[in-house]
């Protein structure tokens, strides 16, 4: 057991060692492998949506020209829009442009898909982000209070409420909130959106009800999850006994020891959840008239606007894949057991 490197070069050597370890680390190769595995998934998703959209009756040309158009007119527009080319050709055309970032243009408005995404995505992200912040900020203290005295009064109450909160459909909650706060009490707006550039306060006001609609379910879910994990730590882990044996107060054992180890699990779940959340966001955006990506998607499907749909589907899929990956990676990166490598002797 010796560690006799000269004090000056020790930090440098440590950093070089860490860099070397990272380069060959299992974490990096893990990330790379997962990214590679994600590619066929992305291909599959975009191809599938292409198939689905093309098998629908009607196409963008028909939608644009309306019910009165003659077949000849429709056919002409189709040629102009490139819709007459064979199916696989069109997919390939889209694909090889998409991978370099050229997502094409909307068939109905002519606007570039990228700019559509650019204006709509941030709106949806803000909404979802707001919902996450509310839910996480409240879930942690609630779970801590519950875990402090399992089956105590606070715990039972919070479990009852969280069960109820989980069982409400987000759109039901949205309608209830609108009814109470917008229609009856008239304190919050029901529909609309104000960009933060215009007024931060108004921006928040318009987002409160929709964010709560999404966030309540999340809050309940996270509270239960964290509570279960905390209790598992407190009741099953030896290091908790050590902490108690030191004379550490129970609240501190919960927050300084158990919470650290439970947060990993929570973060992983949050990342995994992000993907499935996007579906509900569409409905909420619809109810509250928020000009986000969900709203755009619904319109595009109506218009058979394939490039826009493909662009959105592509982005959705990328987000889902990245979130799954992030969940796995976060777990391994945050855990010091993996970050700092094998034990030294």
């Amino acid at each position: 057991m010796s560690s006799t490197s000269a004090p000056l070069s020790a930090p440098l050597a440590a950093r070089a060692g860490r860099a070397r370890r990272l380069a060959s680390s299992p974490t990096l190769s893990f990330i790379v492998r997962r990214l590679l595995a994600a590619i066929p998934v992305l291909l599959g998703v975009t191809f599938l949506s292409f198939v689905v959209m093309n098998s629908l009756p009607g196409d963008a040309a028909q939608e644009l020209l309306g019910a009165q158009a003659t077949p000849a007119e429709i056919h002409q527009l189709e040629i102009k829009l490139g819709l007459d080319k064979p199916f696989l050709t069109r997919y390939w055309d889209w694909l090889h442009q998409a991978v370099i970032g050229h997502l094409g243009h909307s068939l109905s408005s002519g606007q570039s898909v990228a700019s559509i995404l650019g204006s709509d995505l941030p709106v949806t992200f803000e909404l979802v982000g707001f919902a996450f912040v509310i839910s996480l900020a409240l879930a942690v203290p609630l779970a801590l209070v519950s875990a402090r005295k399992p089956n105590g009064v606070a715990d039972r109450l919070s479990m009852m409420f969280s069960m109820a909160g989980l069982s409400i459909a987000p759109y039901v909650l949205a309608l209830v909130l609108v009814y109470v706060f917008a229609v009856k009490l008239n304190v919050l707006p029901a529909i609309g959106w104000v960009p933060p550039g215009q007024s931060v306060w108004q921006n928040i006001r318009y987002l409160i009800l929709p964010a709560v609609s999404i966030g309540l379910g999340l809050l309940c879910f996270y509270t239960r999850l964290l509570r279960a994990d905390l209790l598992e730590q407190m009741q099953g882990e030896d290091y908790v006994v050590t902490a108690r044996a030191k004379g550490v107060r129970p609240w501190r054992v919960l927050t300084r020891h158990a919470l650290r180890n439970s947060l990993f699990g929570l973060i992983t779940v949050v990342a995994l959840n992000l993907g499935t959340l996007l579906g509900f966001t569409v409905v909420i955006e619809d109810i509250f008239g928020i000009p986000g990506i969900g709203h755009e998607l619904l319109q595009a499907i109506d218009n058979r606007d394939i490039p826009v749909i493909e662009g959105i589907v592509f982005v959705f899929a990328v987000i889902v894949v990245l979130c799954n990956l992030a969940a796995d990676v976060l777990y391994s990166v945050l855990d010091p057991r993996i970050r700092y490598g094998r034990p030294t002797e």
Partner: protein, 296 residues
């Protein structure tokens, strides 16, 4: 992170709140309460929606008389009132429940059978077959189900059957993941190796050994998922899929009621309350069963 496979988490299903140990310390009583009460509630709801309309005095949910439209609650003959075209609200509630429940049950049943099979095969065979199946499932999970649902609605026309198909795209992969995880755990047990060595054929392995052992987990998950499926069916109604009016489902009643919420809030709140109570009952039942079976 508890006993939760990440897949259950993806489905948005919550973990059990009650530790089996505490339930055990509380003894017999707690365990019974956790399962019996919700089971009774579920049975009651089923009875109301499926049996009562047959034996009781319930008017048909459609084809109402326009002359008796928009009657308020506690009107004679229509104790919950009527909707805008004269259909009895109470009847719509019951038949709507039947539709929503039918859909949810069908979707979960398809999920268990098809998803369970796929997952078990993937888990048992392993190797490249497993990897391929999982990649295909990943595609379905990453695919925004909404696009599919709306596409089906537009392309094939909305109907109860098509809603079931659309939602199955969600439940089959989710079930498959649970089933695969359970099969992987099972595979390592000695009785499985024994069966393998004694030359049991693959179908027999599947049906005779794997299926009975993963079934409790699958069933618990399916119960917990019914709530979500019912909520999703409602979400689909908002975007045009789901059960097409005038036939009621709780989902489409809520979606339709949205526009007249100020004037007639009960058109939204009645099916919402019904949906809520049903989802809570199924969730409690699923949790109760999980606490019971999980502790073994």
């Amino acid at each position: 992170m508890a006993d939760l496979p990440s897949d259950l988490v993806v489905a948005g299903v919550a973990p059990a709140a009650d530790e089996a140990a505490v339930a055990k310390a509380g003894g017999w009583w707690r365990g019974r309460l956790g399962v019996t009460v919700p089971a009774v509630m579920v049975a009651f709801i089923f009875g109301l929606c499926f049996i009562w309309p047959i034996i009781g005095p319930v008017p048909p949910p459609t084809g109402g008389n326009i002359l008796s439209s928009s009657l308020p609650a506690f009107s004679p003959g229509h104790f919950l009132g009527t909707d805008a075209v004269g259909n009895d609200e109470w009847s719509r509630l019951l038949y709507g429940g039947r539709a929503s429940l039918e859909i949810a049950l069908a979707v979960q049943a398809i999920g268990i059978v098809l998803g369970g099979l796929i997952g078990a095969i993937a888990g048992y065979l392993g190797g490249w077959r497993d990897a391929t199946i999982m990649r295909v499932l990943d595609v379905f999970i990453a695919f925004p189900g909404l696009v599919l649902a709306v596409a089906i609605a537009q392309g094939l026309g909305p109907s109860e059957l098509h809603t079931i198909w659309a939602l199955s795209f969600f439940s089959v992969p989710a079930s498959a993941r649970i089933s695969r995880a359970a099969t992987l755990q099972l595979r390592e047990q000695t009785f499985m190796t024994a069966a393998r060595l004694s030359g049991t054929s693959f179908p027999r392995m599947l049906l005779g050994h794997i299926a009975p052992n993963i079934l409790p987990q699958l069933l618990t998950y399916a119960l917990l998922g019914i709530g979500i499926i019912m909520i999703l069916e409602g979400a689909l109604s908002f975007v045009g899929l789901g059960v097409p009016p005038p036939a009621p489902s709780w989902g489409n009643m809520i979606a339709q009621g949205q526009s007249t919420i100020s004037a007639n809030p009960r058109f939204v709140f009645l099916p919402s309350a019904a949906l809520f109570i049903t989802v809570v009952s199924f969730n409690l039942l699923g949790e109760g069963l999980r606490a019971r079976w999980g502790s073994q």
